[in-house]
Every structure is written in C-alpha cells, then in structure tokens.
C-alpha cells in the first residue's frame, strides 16, 4: 500500500519536509515534482471541502489539496500557502503547506508505526512517524491521500 514498503531497507530515504500548523511533516522526495510559491487559486464551487481550488502551473492544471482539512488541524490564519506539487498518474495535485523545510535523509529502519491512538481517519494518510532531534516527523502517504480523494464525491 505504501510507496515506502518497496524501499530497500538499507538505502537512506530522502524526505522533503514542511510545516503545517506547527507540526513537522515529510514526504518522499521522489514523489515531489516541485515546490512553488503561493499561487492564485481558482475555487471549484461544490467540490469537496479539502479541495482549495485549481492552480495554473505553467499551463498545467493542479488540484490544490488542503492538508489541514485532511489532518483535522485548525484553520489557518495564513492566507498564502506554499505548494508542494506531486505528480500522480496523469494529473497533478498540490499539497498546501505553511512553510517549506529542508530535505532530510532518514534511515527507514528508524521509522515507527503511527500510534494507534491517532484516529484511523488521519492514520490512513501516514506511513509512519520518525523521531528527529527535538520533534516528531510524520511521513505522509501520498497513495493513501489519493485513495481518499478518488473515493470522495
């Protein structure tokens, strides 16, 4: 189910990290097409709530996904979110985040499963948790997100 399960264990994994509502998240860097500055968004009326709109990525359409909504975090006061653009199949999605962090290298062995105490609704978007020096990093499972998006109406 997860893209990371196919990884060879001894190869270090690179994560592109970002902050949402003060929490640190990471996603496999190979999934990320690019990171772009806040873009003008076109609202899609009647679309599910997690869809913030469409952005024009140099002539390509990307659907902007509100991770705050998916992770049930509080609404942001910040208006301009950064876009982490990921290519999935034939279309592009943009994950909206508050702040972009570094690309870090982690040892996949050090990753721990998501604690059971976290609601299933949120757990399905995560591959695991990784302990960095002073905080915890949640690794995002893009395929889980895609699965959720495509089953929603």
């Amino acid at each position: 189910m997860s893209v990371h399960e196919t990884n060879e264990k001894d190869v270090p994994m690179q994560l592109s990290t970002f902050m949402i509502a003060g929490h640190l998240y990471g996603i496999d860097v190979r999934m990320v097409q690019e990171v772009v500055k806040p873009m003008k968004m076109t609202r899609v009326p009647l679309a599910p709530e997690f869809v913030k709109g469409l952005i024009n990525l140099r002539g390509q359409l990307a659907t902007a996904i509100d991770l705050r909504y998916l992770f049930k975090l509080s609404e942001s006061e910040q208006i301009d979110s950064m876009n982490v653009v990921c290519q999935t199949g034939s279309s592009a999605i943009s994950l909206l985040v508050d702040e972009i962090g570094d690309v870090i290298e982690i040892d996949p062995d050090g990753m721990e499963p998501v604690p059971q105490t976290i609601s299933r609704d949120i757990r399905k978007f995560m591959t695991g948790v990784y302990k960095v020096s002073d905080t915890l990093l949640s690794v995002i499972d893009l395929s889980g997100i895609m699965k959720f998006i495509n089953s929603s109406k």
């Binding site: 076109t42 009647l46 024009n56 359409l61 659907t63 999605i93 929603s152 109406k153």
Partner: protein
C-alpha cells in the same frame, strides 16, 4: 522482419481499401484505368503475400487476378455479377490478414477457407459461363465474349490457374529464399498465361518479381496487349486508381496527437502573452505579439489539418454494407453519398464510424420496405438511402435519410409501454418528436422480428451515447410513409473548442458554444429584482417569446456569494441540454473565446457540474460547465421535460428543407394572428415609453446612433383597439426592427409571441388589405403574413419624396424585359418575383436550376437576365450558370446570383461558374439597381 510485416499489413490495408472503392466505382463509371488499377492491386498483393510466405492470400489473389484478366483486356465489361464473384475473395483476404496480425502465421483454418473461396469463385464463373444455373445471367455474361470459344477459354484459364497454384503449395514451403518464392506462385500456370501474351517475352521467372514495385507493374502494363490511353504517363495511370500516394508520409498518430497538444499549449501561451502585451506601450513588443499571434493561428490551423480526414474514407465503405445487407434482406436499395470530401478530425471520424454503421443498417433493415411493399405503396421499387455530410456553423452535420416507411408513433408508444420505457400517463403530453426520441432509450428496438442484421436491443441508445461522448448530438425526423432522417451533429475537433465565457461572482466559467442557443439580457429594477423573471413553485421561470423557460441561477446552484446587487442587469444564457432547453442566469457575459479544455481529476468530474477547465489569456482558470450535468443536477427537467422538448421541436426544421419558412408571430390586437417572415426581421427590441419621442406626427426613438422611425402596424392596417387593451399602461413597446436599403425602420406590435417553422406555401389569393402577403396555416390556425417591405414603403412615402418621373420611364423600359428567376424556396421565389413584377419587369420563375435550364432551352432568346439562387435541389445555381453558358443555342444574357450563402469562397465559385454578379439574398433595392444596371436602364 517485424517491421516489414507491419509494412505488409499497411500495404494490404491500403490495397484492400482501394480495391473495394474501385470495385464500386467501376460499376458506376467504367474506365480502363480503373480496371487496370484493380488488376494491379491484386497483382501487387499476390506478390507481397508470396514474399512473406502467406500462400493462402497469394492463392486467392491469384485466382482473382485471373478473373480480372479479361476485364483488363477489355474482353468483358464489369457488372454486378463480376463484383459478386470478386468480393468474397477480397473478404477472405481481409479475414486472413486480420488473423495474421495476431498470429503472424497462416493456419489450417485459412487453408480450408482459401480452398472454399477459390472453389466458390471458380464455380460462380463457371455458372455464368456455362449457364448451368441461371440462363439469364449466363446470357448476359456471354455478351461479353465475342465468340463462344473465347468464353470457354476464359473459364478454362481460371480453372487451370487456380489448380496450378494449389499444386504449387509444397514448393512454397520448402524454399524460403525470396527469389525462389517469388517464382513459385504462378510458375506452374505460366503456361496458360503465355497465350494471353501478358509476359510472353519474359517467361515465367520475372512475372512475379515479387517485391512488385510500382515501376515493375507499370512495366508489365506497358508490355501487355492493352494499350494505355495514348500518351498517358504511367504515373498518372497509377494515380487514377485512386488517391495519390506520392508525397505523402506515414506518421504515427501519437506524434500528431502530441503535436496537437503542444499547439494547444502554444495557443495558451500566445493568449497570455497577448494579454500581457496590452499593458505595454513597447511598440517592438506589440509588433512581435502580432506576429506571434499570426504564426500561432496559422500553425494551429495547419496542425489541425494533419488530423483531418475526408469523411468519404468511412462513407464509401457503406456502399458495400448497404449492398450486402439489401441483398440478404431481399430489398432493392441504392446508397447515395453526398459531401464525401467533408473533413473531420481523425479521432472523431473513428468515433462516428460505428454509430453511423448502425444507423445505416437500421435504415436498410427497418426503414426501407421490401420491393413488394414499396410497389404496393406506390413508390418506385428501388429504395434509397442517402448520406449527406456538410459543414454548418463549425460543426459537421451528417444526415442519413431513407425513403422507407418512416416511423410509426403508435407502434413506438406501444413498444415503449410494453418495455417499460414509458409510463402510460406520459403518452398524452408527448409530441411526435418526443416519441421518435424514444427509440434512443436503452433497451428499445422496434423490429417485430429479431433479425441477425439489427434489432438485438442494443441499438440506438448506444449510438446516442457514443455520439454524445464526442460532444455531438443526434436528432431524428420521420414522416410516416415517406421516410426517416437521422441527423448527427459532430464537432470539428475535440481539442480546441469555441466557448462563451461568463462571470458569476468572482469566478469565470466557460460554456461550450455548441450548447448555446441564445442570450437574453435582463434589466434589474431599483430593488435589484430582475424584470421578467417569475417564480413558480419555488423555481424561477422566464417567458421567452410566450414559452416558459425554466431557469437555473448559476450563483445559487454553485453557492457563489456575490454582490450581485451592484449591477443593473444580468443575463440568461439559453442552453440546450439533451432533455430540453433551459436558461442559466449569470451575472455577466464576458466574451467568446477558443479554449483548450483540460481534464479535471476524476473526482471533480464526478460532481457532474464541470466537464473540464481552461486557462484563460490572463493566466486565470475558468471551469468549463457541464451543461447536461447542470440540468440533471438541478432537477430542472423532472416535470417540465415534455413541455420543453416540445418547445424545441417547434424550432426544429423537419423533413424537406426547401419549403420551410420561419415566421415571427406577433400580436397586433384583435383575434387574428399575424406573422412576419423571420428573414425580414433584423432585430427585436423593447423600448420604454419615455425613450420614444415625436418629431411632428412621426414617432422616433434613438437607436444605435441614429433615429429609428416607428410605425404602428395596427394603425396601418386600421385595426380598432380592443376596449380592454392595456397598451397605454405598458411601460415599454415591442418593436420589430426591419432593415431596408441600409436604413432601419421599426414596426410596433403589441407583443412578440414566438418564432415558428411552417412548411408550405403562403396562400396569397385572399389579400383583403394592403400590406399583406397572404395567409399561412400554423397549428390549424389561419395566420396573416404581413408584407413588411410594402408597409414601410407606404409609410415612408409621405415623407420621403420619391422621384416619380424618372421612375415611370424606367418602369416602361423595364416592361420590355423578361427575367428568368430560379429559386427553390417558395417564400423567396414569391417575394423576389413580386418585387420585380412590381418594379415593372416580367418575371418567369422556376423552382430549381433544372427547370430554369429547360425554360431557357425552350425559349432561347426570350430572357434578358437570370436571377438565380445558388443552393437548389436537382441543379444548383453554379451548374445552371455553366450549363447556360455552354449551351450555344441560348442567347447569352447577364446572370445574377442571389444567395444567403455569402462568403468569399461562395462568391468566387459563383463568379467562376459564369455569374456576372453575386449578391446577398433579400437586398431587393440592390438587386433592382443591379438589374437596371445590367440592362442599361440606370436612371
């Protein structure tokens, strides 16, 4: 090797295609080039099949070649029987080819198939020759041979040939070296070919130098007895077989598709660049912009062209289908193709192929009667299926018409009730058109007997879905006893579509232009309430020319907040969803634009409000509205459906185009109904009372930078006002704007009611008053048709003093001239004829080019001038002009074309065919002036 194999299949496909086509053509117009082409193609096929070791194909084509040999030498003439003999052979080859694509090897199955086909073909030939089965056919066949011995010889040869090939099979397999293989297929039979002298000089070996290049074939041709048409270049003769292969290149479709996408992107960049340029004063930038714009447009057009294919490439296949089908059903049927050169995007062409096939099969199977039934019904025994393809308004229209028994509404209703497609309670509300549309409902088939041809219940609904999938739509018109027409509207291309851009709140949306019917602007009153929009059971409706139009408010349905109150008007976009028309209320209409629709992610598409999104010139995104989805989601057609589709059917011209006239129904007061021919109407306006001013006695209104005089039709016709009429209370007045010689005039009526289509003549015998053209029957009501031109002339005459003296002189001069008028439309014919007669000319009218030509031939020196429409049945205007020019007996006279088809290409075509001048229809003053000019009567 694989690559070569692909080449073989490509070539085989091409040959088979051309062969079918030529076989059809040769029946219609026999010429030597065609028979040579047929022979050559089979020969080439035989050669290349031999090269690849496909012995079955080689054998079949060899037999066919032998059968074609006498045709090529001119010993026999092609006829139906010959075609019947050859077709199974070609079909077998096609079948084998199809299998080979998968398996790459011939199997035993093919062996069996081959020998049975060859036996059948040889057998048939022998039947003809010996007359064992049908003496009549044999007799006709024997006509082709001069002597009996020749005929026998023909048969023997074919027999020998086929046997020869069969016995050569083993060698085939043993020796695989190309040059060895080459020799074999005909090696054994070369003896029998010798006396035909085809290759007597060369001997057996070179006959099948099998990679058969065209030049080698040519070589053979030139050496054979048949002399090519003298002096004809061999390349030419090759081309004449069918389309030219020279200077073309096979390109994988994928590359073209990529090209198309890239051009789409380029168009977007161009749009954005143009937008950016408008903010700049840099003349260099603007200059570059202009060139970029120009080049992009050209590029887009050219790339589009690469994907365009003539529709003929699929239509000609139907010759075969109709032929086989009518034979198996024992019907007599002719297929007429029109507009085979019409071009359509390749992917769309592929997509319409199957639906078209289905419709054509249906027409032959269900539509046409058997020969006996036709005779009993007093029709000619031969049924007719016609496929017409043409461009109209950025779409390709394909009409499939049969002259069969037509659809029986009763039968359809019963069937639909039986199948549960229809509820009993709905029957009453349905118009004929609604009933006909039922055959597109899933699981519906009217065939009483289920035949193997059609009627398996998977039918028209699939056709409809497929057509709609590519953005087209389907319509059906049927007259019982006279036939059925299925009309397909297909967009030219999918990639770039014209769209209307509308705005609601801060968002912009695009609506595909094909769905658009009309736009209505609505003023708001002081309270921000839109005038004319009424509430009905919680839904909004609008009275559009007397019909209720259900409305959807875009803001409401999409939940867009807007400060809509700030604007003083909004617009209704009248859209055509499949189930009927409805109005979409938007805040503003911005623009129309060519857009590239980009797909949305599936879960957004599933909302069924949007079909995609496009990037606008300014880089912003506009969602493309899914019109059908909107209508369904808003539930607008649950109750109003029947009513609306009826409304639509009023607008739908049916049956025979030529005698349909559209009328604007107006209310003038009193119970009588009045109508104005729609072609006369320039615009419809509502003027509020305070705008209307008086100069002296004449009422005028300021209109588009000039003054529009307003005449009351009621006053002109001296109609008494009803006592309970409320015209004085009305805040605004309805005015029909008519243009005459460049000036606008307004005719005031009480109310504009509707637009209706009427087939049939104006009855002009009862004209009790001035200003009336006659009467027509609309929905069993007698309607008086107003002669707007005369009303205007009469009303203006008292303030526009005309120079009566010169007029009289011209009149008497005019009366010396006879004018020949060719016009198929009843209304126009009458109108032009009346106007010219009134001006003093003698007019002789004909309904089409053919009749006009006959009239001109009968009295070669009678007419001084021709006025002709361009598009007419039987014989069009251009053909008429050319025929008159060619006919030496007819005294030459000036010829004027009048047509509503008024564009550069049409004009050029018209002038080329001999017209002195090409004019736009219904500009009577200009026409009269021109006629005077050409007859040297100018004042």
């Amino acid at each position: 090797m694989d690559l070569n194999l692909t080449d073989f299949f490509d070539e085989a496909d091409e040959i088979l295609e051309r062969f079918y086509q030529n076989l059809n053509n040769i029946l219609n117009t026999f010429n030597r080039n065609l028979s040579n082409a047929l022979y050559r193609d089979v020969h080439t096929l035989k050669g290349s099949a031999g090269l690849f070791g496909f012995k079955n194909i080689a054998e079949i084509s060899h037999t066919m070649e032998s059968i074609l040999e006498p045709l090529r030498t001119g010993a026999i003439h092609p006829d139906e029987q010959l075609v019947d003999i050859l077709l199974p052979g070609m079909d077998a080859i096609r079948g084998i080819c199809d299998d080979l694509r998968k398996e790459e090897k011939e199997s035993d199955k093919h062996q069996v198939m081959t020998s049975s086909v060859i036996t059948a073909m040889v057998g048939q030939v022998s039947d003809f020759v010996h007359g064992e089965i049908n003496p009549e056919i044999a007799y006709s066949f024997s006509d082709y041979f001069e002597t009996e011995s020749e005929l026998k010889h023909f048969y023997e040869r074919i027999k020998n040939n086929s046997r020869g090939v069969v016995s050569s099979q083993e060698k085939y397999e043993e020796e695989k070296k190309p040059d060895a293989i080459d020799q074999i297929p005909v090696g054994d039979v070369s003896g029998s070919e010798k006396d035909t002298s085809e290759n007597s000089e060369k001997g057996p070996g070179p006959i099948l130098e099998s990679h058969i290049r065209s030049d080698e074939v040519k070589d053979m041709d030139s050496k054979s007895q048949i002399s090519e048409t003298s002096g004809s270049d061999q390349r030419e003769s090759r081309d004449s077989g069918s389309q030219s292969i020279n200077e073309t290149l096979r390109v994988p479709v994928q590359i073209l598709e990529n090209l198309m996408n890239l051009v789409g992107e380029l168009v977007l960049v161009r749009n954005q660049h143009m937008q950016y340029g408008t903010h700049s004063n840099d003349s260099e930038l603007l200059n570059l912009n202009q060139r970029l714009n120009y080049v992009t447009a050209e590029l887009q057009e050219e790339v589009m062209k690469t994907r365009m294919q003539k529709i003929g490439s699929i239509l000609t296949k139907f010759n075969r289908v109709v032929r086989d089908l009518s034979k198996s059903l024992n019907k007599n049927c002719r297929l007429i193709l029109d507009g085979v050169d019409t071009e359509l995007d390749k992917t769309l062409l592929e997509a319409v192929k199957d639906p078209l096939m289905h419709i054509v099969r249906n027409a032959v199977d269900h539509g046409l009667e058997t020969t006996e039934e036709r005779v009993a019904a007093g029709k000619i025994s031969e049924g007719k299926v016609e496929i017409r393809a043409y461009h109209e308004g950025g779409q390709v229209i394909i009409e499939i018409t049969d002259d069969g028994k037509g659809l029986d509404p009763e039968k359809i209703i019963n069937k639909a009730l039986e199948k549960g497609v229809l509820k009993e309670s709905d029957v009453e509300k349905m118009s004929d058109r609604d009933v006909f549309m039922l055959i597109f409902a899933p699981g519906f088939s009217t065939a009483e007997k289920i035949s193997n041809v059609s009627g398996r219940g998977v039918g028209m609904d699939v056709v409809k879905t497929n057509i709609e999938r590519i953005g087209g739509n389907i319509d059906l018109i049927s007259v019982k006893g006279q036939g059925t027409t299925v009309k397909l509207r297909i967009p030219l291309t999918l990639a770039i579509i014209p769209a209307l851009i509308v705005r609601s709140g801060a968002e912009r949306f695009s609506i595909p232009q094909v769905k658009l019917v009309e736009l209505v602007k609505i003023e708001k009153d002081e309270n921000g309430v839109s005038k004319g929009i009424e509430e009905l059971q919680g839904t909004q409706v609008y009275r559009l020319r007397g019909q209720l139009l259900p409305l959807i408010n875009l803001n409401q349905i999409l939940g867009i907040d807007s400060d809509g109150g700030s604007k003083d008007s909004e617009s209704i976009v009248v859209l055509n969803a499949d189930s009927g028309i409805f109005g979409l209320v938007v805040e503003e209409i911005e623009d129309s634009n060519d857009i590239v629709v980009k797909p949305l992610m599936q879960f957004l598409k599933d909302l069924s409000f949007y079909s995609g999104a496009t990037i606008m010139g300014d880089g912003n995104i506009a969602l493309t509205l899914d019109v059908t989805g909107l209508a369904i989601k808003s539930g607008i057609f649950s109750e109003n459906e029947a009513k609306n589709s009826h409304h639509e059917s009023d607008h739908e011209p049916s049956g025979h185009k030529t005698d349909i006239t559209e009328y604007l129904l107006v209310d003038i007061g009193r119970n009588e109904k009045y109508a104005i021919p729609l072609c006369m109407v320039h615009r419809l306006e509502d003027f509020s009372n305070d705008l209307i001013k008086k100069t002296g006695e004449q009422e005028v209104v300021q209109y588009r930078n000039s003054l529009l005089p307003i005449f009351s039709v009621k006053k002109y016709l001296s109609i008494q006002s009803d006592t309970n009429e409320k015209s004085s209370e009305n805040a605004s007045r309805s005015v029909v704007v008519i243009q005459r010689s460049g000036k606008s005039y307004g005719l005031e009526v009480n109310r504009i009611v509707d637009v209706v289509c009427v087939s049939g003549d104006i009855n002009s015998e009862i004209r009790d008053r001035k200003g009336i053209l006659g009467n027509v029957i609309i929905d069993d009501d007698l309607v008086v048709v107003l002669d707007t031109m005369n009303i205007i002339i009469d009303m203006t005459s008292h303030f526009e003093k005309e120079n009566n003296n010169t007029k009289k002189e011209i009149r008497s001069d005019r009366s010396k001239h006879n004018i020949l008028l060719a016009e198929d439309n009843n209304f126009y014919r009458k109108f032009i004829s009346d106007s010219l007669t009134q001006a003093g000319y003698h007019v002789f009218a004909a309904c089409d080019g053919k009749e006009a030509l006959e009239m001109a031939k009968k009295f070669p020196a009678k007419y001084s001038l021709l006025v002709s429409d361009i598009e007419m049945p039987e014989m069009g205007g251009c053909e008429l002009a050319m025929s008159i020019k060619k006919d030496e007996n007819i005294t030459k006279f000036p010829m004027l074309a009048v047509s509503s088809k008024y564009n550069d290409k049409a004009i050029e075509e018209g002038l080329e065919s001999g017209f002195n001048k090409y004019m736009e229809k219904l500009k009577m003053d200009e026409l009269l002036e021109t006629i005077d000019h050409y007859l040297n009567l100018a004042a």
